[in-house]
Amino acid sequence: MATTTATVTLSSDLLSDAMSVTSSTTCMKAETTSDGLDQCKMGYKEIPTGTNFDLLGADNAAAGNLNKANKVYICNNSTDETYYIVITIDAIVIGRLYAGDWMFIPWGAEDATADIEIQAYTGTNKITYMWFHEGEVLNTTL
């Protein structure tokens, strides 16, 4: 079985007693306890300000990842704190990743329009991303 794990350590001293949470998950295929996600895609992109494009497309129903247990990691590697990207799914804003911020989410990809889109602001943002998934079948070249 392919094994992918994601561990987060969250620490904060905002409260009167410091908070520290560590959590780890093994990324399994949808609705199974015996088979891990076995496909992945990783990349690094530079996105000019104002540009909005699909980082991950959900438009290939044959890919076999719709309504599955996809996991997506996105990091804004920009260093200027005023730089940020807006994350949207199916044109609905999820939130902003400022320079140095990262996110790790399950991605339902519930239908063909549920793409993960990003738009850059202030300057050219530099993005690292990873997508762990299952079931993608490459299409034959037409």
Binding site: S12, L15, C27, T32, D38, I87, G95, G100, M103, G108
Partner: protein
């Protein structure tokens, strides 16, 4: 006062992948000033497939109105039934929107899965959750935000 989050990803899917580690300090939008507000670490038990607002962005629930479109972050973990039994075959769908209106699915949190994501803080762009079954499932969550 600082809040930090570190992620460590390991995987043997791709030969030669040596793992990935990244840490971030949660800062206010467009600055290097630390984020200063939090909901505190919370826990909510659900036992029906009905969608509910886990975090409502409007003033009444948070006591402090979230500043819109800034650098808020939410952490959620599906810890299973709360008695050390997390089921990888059932899930909680996490969405953004409002239970009284429309929602956009983010994804499915199976047992022991967690997420950390930015949220806009805009009213009615709440964090909405809906279990896949009527069995008890417990979510642990915290939001860090600006006012």
């Amino acid at each position: 006062m600082a809040t930090t989050a570190a992620i460590n990803i390991t995987s043997d899917i791709m030969p030669g992948f040596g793992g990935y580690y990244k840490t971030m300090t949660l800062t206010q939008a467009g600055t290097i000033t630390d984020i200063e507000e939090t909901t505190g670490f919370s826990r909510r038990k659900l036992a029906a497939t009905t969608a509910v607002d886990l975090i409502t962005m409007a003033d009444a629930s948070l006591l402090l109105e979230t500043d819109d479109n800034t650098a808020a972050k939410v952490y959620i973990k599906n810890i299973g039934n709360g008695r050390n039994a997390a089921d990888k075959t059932t899930y909680v769908t996490v969405s953004i929107g409002d239970t009284g209106g429309t929602t956009q699915e983010v994804g499915r949190l199976y047992g022991n899965d967690w997420l950390l994501m930015p949220v806009s803080g805009v009213d009615d762009m709440d964090v909405v959750v809906a279990p896949s079954t009527n069995d008890a499932v417990v979510l642990e969550y915290v939001m860090f935000f600006e006012v």
